[in-house]
């Protein structure tokens, strides 16, 4: 188990190193001129040169890369050209909102997805099962950003059941920054109105972002449950006269969980991708929106910072999945 862990960690770090190289060279292939974009076309040449020098943009590429890795080792991701602040500070500010959204989405996806999957498996072949399969395919086919717009239209504009875009109502002030997550911070500040409002605001984006994960989890749960429900020990449990509920939840679901946990990890990493689109639709102050504006304004340092962070989390999620697999299934204890 330990050697497996070390091996996996090594592999993950090789991948991350590769990510650094790809990201660095990619962001330096961008044909635009970031300094020109900031100063505007009328800027005097010496001012442009000065700024280029200050950000090290006048050095050869490999030199910039070496310096970049050196600074990275010290936790320094450089300064964002757009916000004029250290990228690491930007990330600390924007990342919690994404974590909050992604976690809410995956919770929703797991709770609803597993329930729907179990129901579908238990009613195998009946109309409930067919309806679930039909709607899950429809759900998988909808673009998340479009689903977001449609839900905003229905729940916000049409019926006013849920609030519009943003993390809080505009007249509410954010609680003091502790973790950066509004839900957690408002609890720490004992500001329950803000907490309630934040929950209200979280519903729609979480549903939208979680929709694909939900469908995926429901499908895997259904397949996994059907597989397990057909096994002999379930027949034995039924023959013993156990209540159907006990058979389904205690005997079947527990063993069906393994593949479900694998996809949960994979979907959590994938949520970061959907976050870009969902955050755009819901004006959510998270990493996705930060990434979008960084790429649009050709903000090298910010682009690299975001991509590295996302790649890190992505690899970490995969790592956790692999390890969880080993822990949960004694049959696959890695040599």
């Amino acid at each position: 188990m330990w050697s497996y862990l070390v091996r996996r960690l090594l592999l993950a770090s090789v991948a991350i190193a590769g990510v650094l190289v790809i990201v660095f060279f990619l962001s330096h292939v961008i044909p635009g001129d970031p300094v020109g974009a900031i100063l505007g076309p009328q800027a005097p040449q010496d001012l442009i040169d000065d700024l280029r020098q200050r950000y090290g943009l006048d050095r050869p590429l490999y030199e910039q890369f070496v310096r970049f890795v050196e600074r990275l080792a010290h936790g320094d991701l450089g300064t964002s050209l757009a916000t004029k602040r250290p990228v690491i500070r930007d990330l600390i500010e924007f990342f919690p909102a994404t974590i909050e959204l992604a976690t809410a989405s995956i919770l929703l996806g797991v709770v609803v997805g597993v329930s729907v999957g179990v129901i579908s498996a238990v009613t195998h072949g009946r109309w409930i099962d067919h309806a679930v399969r039909f709607f899950s395919l429809i759900g998988l086919s909808m673009p998340v950003f479009w689903l977001g717009l449609i839900l905003l239209y229905i729940f916000y504009f049409k019926f006013g059941l849920l609030p519009g875009p943003g993390q809080l109502d505009v007249f509410l002030t954010r609680p003091p920054f502790v973790t950066g997550m509004v839900l957690v911070d408002s609890l720490i500040a004992r500001d329950f109105d803000t907490f309630g409002n934040a929950i209200h605001h979280l519903w729609l984006p979480a549903i939208v972002l979680g929709s694909h994960a939900l469908v995926g989890i429901a499908r895997i749960t259904r397949a996994s449950m059907l597989e397990v429900l057909g096994l002999d020990y379930i027949k034995v449990a039924r023959a013993k006269g156990l209540a159907e509920r006990t058979v389904v939840f205690k005997h079947a679901l527990r063993n069906a969980l393994l593949p479900i946990i694998t996809v949960i990890g994979i979907y959590y990493g994938g949520l970061l991708e959907g976050a870009v689109l969902t955050e755009t639709v819901f004006s959510w102050p998270g990493l996705g929106r930060y990434a979008t504006s960084a790429i649009l304004s050709q903000d090298f340092a910010a682009i690299m910072g975001v991509t590295i962070l996302i790649a890190l989390i992505f690899s970490l999620a995969n790592l956790v999945v692999d390890l969880a697999y080993g822990i949960l299934n004694p049959k696959i204890r890695y040599e």
């Binding site: 429809i138 086919s141 717009l149 597989e227 991708e273 996302i310």
Partner: protein
């Protein structure tokens, strides 16, 4: 010499059997009602794309400010957008763009991925290690983020969207091709070809490639919907096709600010995307169901 010829004939016969199996696979896929529906949707889409000028009622780029944001009516089936362009005609023409992106991406990703995977899997060793670490790096990114970065680096145009998504997609195909090749290189017919002195390029092209292609095609048909969604997402956030191109993602983004009052601007292109992706998903599910009968009616939810 003659011996080589007979063995080659035997090997070709094996290839013909493979092709026959592929044909019956298609036949069985089409017998499944859900994949039949998928096939019909895709067929209609191809038809619409091919006959777009005949179906569209107006020029998709023709602006008409006097009739801007008109609701759906007899004159404009899906209404008009902010510049008075006919949304129905734009949705119709948009099918061409989505299909082109999907097909080109599938072709490019396969053309990069299959050779890398086959060569890595056949020769193993150092080459294999390097190839697999490179795919690891690419796969450490979420696909959309990587495509965003590439599309931005290359300037956002339709062609670059294709390049971006292909670059993000090929590693998965390389992995698949490699794992198939690992099995194939131990097969008798490949070993026979090797024993007869066939050159590695010949073995790879004539004996390994055909065996790798069908699982690749199945995987691609499963990914097609995802490719279209990614392309639309790129268009929506501004990294893909640019206005005034009638690309569905761009059209949804153009209607974003009017969703409260003029719902039709974003709604119809969204339905077009959902239908197209549904078609590909149904078809892909059907193909997989047939391939893995153990899962029939199970995963194919």
């Amino acid at each position: 010499m003659s011996r080589t010829a007979t063995t080659d004939a035997a090997l070709l016969a094996q290839g013909a059997r493979d092709r026959a199996r592929t044909r019956s696979l298609m036949w069985r896929t089409l017998r499944n009602p859900l994949s039949m529906i998928g096939m019909i949707i895709i067929g209609l889409l191809v038809l619409v794309a091919a006959a777009a000028p005949l179906i569209a009622t107006e020029d998709p780029l023709q602006t008409n400010v006097a009739e801007r944001l008109a609701p759906p009516s007899r004159a404009h089936f899906f209404g008009t957008d902010t510049l008075g362009r006919d949304i129905f005609s734009r949705v119709i023409y948009g099918s061409r763009i989505s299909l082109r992106i999907a097909i080109l991406t599938a072709v490019i990703a396969t053309v990069i991925g299959a050779p890398v995977g086959i060569v890595a899997g056949y020769f193993r060793g150092r080459l294999d290690d390097i190839a697999m670490r490179v795919t690891d790096m690419f796969m450490a990114f979420p696909r959309l983020i990587l495509a965003m970065a590439i599309a931005a680096a290359l300037r956002p145009t339709l062609e670059n969207v294709v390049i971006a998504i292909s670059l993000a997609a090929w590693p998965a195909y390389a992995r698949l091709a490699r794992s198939m090749t690992l099995g194939l290189r131990e097969e008798n017919f490949v070993e026979a070809a090797r024993a007869l002195g066939a050159s590695p390029p010949r073995i790879l092209a004539r004996h390994v490639l055909p065996g790798v292609m069908s699982p690749l095609i199945i995987q691609i048909s499963l990914d097609m919907g995802g490719i279209i969604l990614t392309a639309a997402g790129l268009g929506f956030i501004g990294f893909g096709a640019q206005p005034p191109t009638p690309e569905w993602g761009v059209m949804i983004s153009e209607g974003r600010n009017y969703i409260t009052t003029q719902w039709w601007v974003s709604t119809f292109p969204g339905i077009a995307i959902a239908l197209t992706v549904l078609g590909f998903n149904l078809l892909g599910d059907g193909v997989r169901d047939v391939l893995d009968p153990r899962l029939r009616g199970r995963i194919g939810a």
